[in-house]
């Protein structure tokens, strides 16, 4: 078969993906870049406005608040969920009876549809009848109005985010199984206890996986949407801006306020911020991450 025929054959085989990529990824992305420089109410043709949408973000109080809240959410939830996932994975790695059951129990919540779990959390956090406040009452604490108090609503959302930690646990658990036994044996011979073995052996060996997970968590935090969106809509009496995150404001601009140009600009800023945060994470982690054989 000639090279040319092989080339054609190759292109034909990848054409379904290629067409899909061009039609549903590249073209919309290119169009959204163009729209970000336009004023585009969807029902009328876009009008070129240059950098106006990007400039407006700096003066838009709601945008700045949503961005700040997203950063705060990420700054709290990422370290917390990473630490929790590592601890749970380490506990699951210990040879205990019923280990498989615990593994399944930790992973199960990630299979529950987000909308369904949002409804459950809505009632768990209910100020008057919620189980969480009932539990706190038993130990003499008067629980707050979790979802209607501007002081507590972020804590509530972070707790909900920890509910989905099972996915990271599975990855860490698998990575822990790959750590060579002889390293633990050497550490034990050096007199290290379980905590120091975890800190000096497990964690360095896991560091590339932790880095990967942190990067995905950064991307996820910048895109947080479903849970706060549902909870906000279903919580009368709460300040809807108290948990108004970046993607929620972007969605509202695009599909509720008819400001597709502004929403497109927000999408590109979101991508840029995510790239910068990812690059910073890689830069900071350069000395902390240990690659075997690299």
């Amino acid at each position: 078969m000639t090279d040319r025929r092989e080339n054609i054959s190759g292109w034909i085989w990848i054409s379904p993906w290629l067409v899909g990529f061009l039609a549903f990824m590249l073209a919309p992305a290119a169009l959204s870049l163009y729209y970000s420089f336009t004023e585009y109410p969807l029902l009328e043709a876009p009008v070129w406005v240059g950098m106006e949408n990007y400039g407006r973000m700096l003066r838009d109080e709601v945008f700045l608040t949503a961005l700040r809240k997203t950063f705060i959410y990420g700054a709290i939830s990422i370290p917390l969920s990473t630490a929790l996932a590592l601890v749970i994975a380490a506990l699951l790695s210990a040879k205990i009876r019923g280990g498989r059951f615990y593994q399944a129990a930790v992973f199960l919540p990630t299979l529950v549809p987000m909308a369904a779990s949002a409804m459950v959390w809505l009632w768990l956090f209910n100020g008057e009848y919620g189980l969480i406040n009932r539990g706190l009452e038993l130990i003499g604490i008067d629980g707050p109005n979790w979802l209607t108090s501007t002081r507590w609503v972020m804590t509530a959302i972070v707790i909900v985010s920890l509910w989905g930690v099972g996915q990271a646990v599975v990855v860490y658990y698998a990575a822990m199984k790959e750590v060579p036994d002889h390293l633990y044996e050497a550490a034990s011979m050096d007199g290290m206890g379980p905590a120091r073995r975890f800190w000096n052996v497990t964690l360095p060996m896991l560091s590339p996986v932790v880095l990967f997970n942190v990067v995905t968590l950064i991307i996820g935090a910048m895109q947080v949407f479903v849970i706060p969106y549902i909870i906000t809509k279903a919580t009368p009496g709460g300040d809807p801006r108290a948990m108004y995150f970046y993607t929620m404001y972007m969605y509202d601009n695009a599909f509720v306020y008819g400001k597709m140009g502004y929403a497109s600009a927000m999408a590109w800023v979101q991508l840029l911020v995510t790239l910068v945060l990812t690059a910073m994470t890689f830069a900071v982690s350069r000395k902390a991450v240990y690659y075997r054989g690299g």
């Binding site: 078969m1 054959s9 034909i12 004023e39 109410p41 969807l42 029902l43 009328e44 009008v47 109080e61 709601v62 809505l122 009632w123 209910n126 100020g127 008057e128 009848y129 109005n145 979802l147 209607t148 108090s149 501007t150 279903a234 919580t235 009368p236 009496g237 709460g238 300040d239 809807p240 801006r241 108004y244 509202d252 599909f255 509720v256 306020y257 008819g258």
Partner: protein, 456 residues
């Protein structure tokens, strides 16, 4: 594929299979029923209603379909209707008829995304004079030349009144036949009804601004104010009337405690259409609500002794024969670009026949949008407050949401601000000054959009 076999044959077979599957799909695959309608014009009608409301509308559609042999309407229940309509219209493939909300009209009218109904032949009988005076504001909007046009018809209409629990009134020693008329009376009634336990927990209130909390922005209208002046395109959020109204709103959490009220409110959850509805349980004695509440009462608490009255107003504003109240409505529009606009109009005209309007309004427990509701409609209506709702629709002081394309954004601002004010996070005057600034900014941006396109 095994080693040594002809790779070309396998590839050709695979490509042939894919091509055959594609051709088969194109020729025999699923398609809309538009072609299978016995030669009739098929119209897609997108609507939001399900349940008993959907069944009532479906019945009208069915009756229309059997009343003639030229047009067939398909009733399609669509969730996220406003967003999907926006995208479908922008994408150039709109449904033939859409049941939107009245606040959608300014954007769709200014962008000419819908067809003005006064463009059609007058023989269809759809005229603005058919509707109650206050309802007319909902259906009209200036076109690009500034001329007021009729853009929609009312599908159903509801005015907001005060529903009250007469048993709770009696329990508090109040006369259930003499509901409060002014804000001052409302406060006095509310104080008589309030019940707080020894540990400070609220057990019952007379009135709660956040129940149901759907209309965060209306209070100023009951003090004689407005939020928007369409003549000057200026926001009026920080007017004296609005400040007075929201200071009144803040007097409740000041008296009962913001946290205690929030905790009490959170107990109802989103239980509007359920036996846990706060009016039904007696936890809240007076609520602003639309006529649809009568259906909830009939379904979950048919024995409830309830009353309906116009929502109270500030003493200086009170006039017995001109009640103040919000008018809300679902509307029917024809998107521009539909293939059979005349057929769409024929269906819409059918839905506007008085007997059809009154059938749908009755089935939805709502008041009539018509200028002259029939006596049978009022006498047979399942909502005992229908006269009150009709009176608000007929009142010159019935008000509608600000007629501007940025209303969805302004409303979100108000929803957020009301909660901040209700939580006593900021004095009403300061909060309203901040809303005023942002509201005017949105209005100015919309004006700039119109100017860029050479209209407005």
């Amino acid at each position: 594929m095994s080693e040594g076999s002809n790779p070309g044959l396998g590839r050709r077979a695979a490509i042939g299979a894919i091509a055959a599957a594609g051709a088969g799909f194109a020729l025999f695959g699923p398609r809309g029923a538009k072609e299978a309608s016995g030669g009739r014009i098929v119209l897609d009608y997108w609507e939001k209603w399900t349940g008993h409301e959907g069944r009532a509308m479906q019945r009208i559609v069915d009756e229309f379909n059997s009343s003639q042999s030229r047009i067939f309407v398909r009733y399609l229940v669509t969730s996220g209707l406003d967003q999907k309509t926006l995208i479908a219209v922008a994408g150039g493939d709109p449904p033939d008829i859409v049941g939107l909300w009245n606040y959608n009209i300014p954007l769709y009218a200014e962008t000419e995304a819908i067809i003005p109904l006064d463009e059609f032949d007058s023989s269809y009988g759809v005229r603005i004079e058919n509707y109650a005076p206050a309802v007319r504001q909902l259906l009209t909007h200036p076109d690009r030349t500034g001329k007021q046009r009729l853009w929609a018809t009312v599908n159903t209409c509801g005015t907001i009144a005060m529903y009250y629990n007469r048993s709770v009134f009696r329990d508090a020693g109040l006369d259930p036949d003499r509901p409060p008329r002014t804000i001052e009376e409302l406060d006095a009634y509310a104080k008589s009804i309030e019940r707080v336990s020894a540990d400070g927990g609220i057990e019952r209130v007379g009135f709660l601004h956040a129940e149901p909390g759907w209309w965060s922005w209306i209070w100023g209208y009951h003090f004689g104010g407005t939020l928007y002046d369409p003549e000057t395109d200026r926001a009026r959020a920080d007017s004296a009337e609005n400040i007075a109204a929201f200071e009144w709103l803040q007097s409740y959490p000041r008296r009962l405690g913001a946290d205690a009220l929030k905790k009490f409110r959170s107990g109802f959850g989103t239980a509007y259409s359920s036996p846990q509805n706060a009016l039904l349980t007696g936890q809240v004695a007076m609520v602003p609500q639309g006529p649809w509440l009568a259906n909830v009462i009939q379904t979950f608490s048919p024995g409830l002794d309830y009353g309906v009255a116009p929502f109270p107003v500030a003493e200086a504003v009170y006039r017995e024969d001109e009640p103040v109240g919000l008018i809300d409505s679902d509307i029917l529009v024809i998107p521009r670009g539909v293939k059979h606009p005349e057929a769409s109009m024929e269906f819409i005209a059918y839905t506007q026949r008085p007997e059809v309007v009154e059938y749908l309004s009755t089935a939805h427990f709502k008041n009539s949008p018509l200028a002259s509701p029939s006596r049978e409609f009022i006498e047979r209506h399942p909502n005992r407050g229908v006269r009150v709702h009709n009176a608000i629709a007929a009142s010159p002081r019935g008000f509608v949401c600000p007629r501007t394309r940025v209303w969805p954004q302004l409303k979100d601002e108000f929803d957020a601000s009301m909660q901040r004010m209700w939580g006593l996070a900021r004095p009403a005057r300061e909060e309203l000054a901040a809303i005023q600034q942002r509201a005017q900014q949105y209005l100015d941006e919309a004006a700039e959009q119109r100017r860029r396109r050479g209209y407005g």
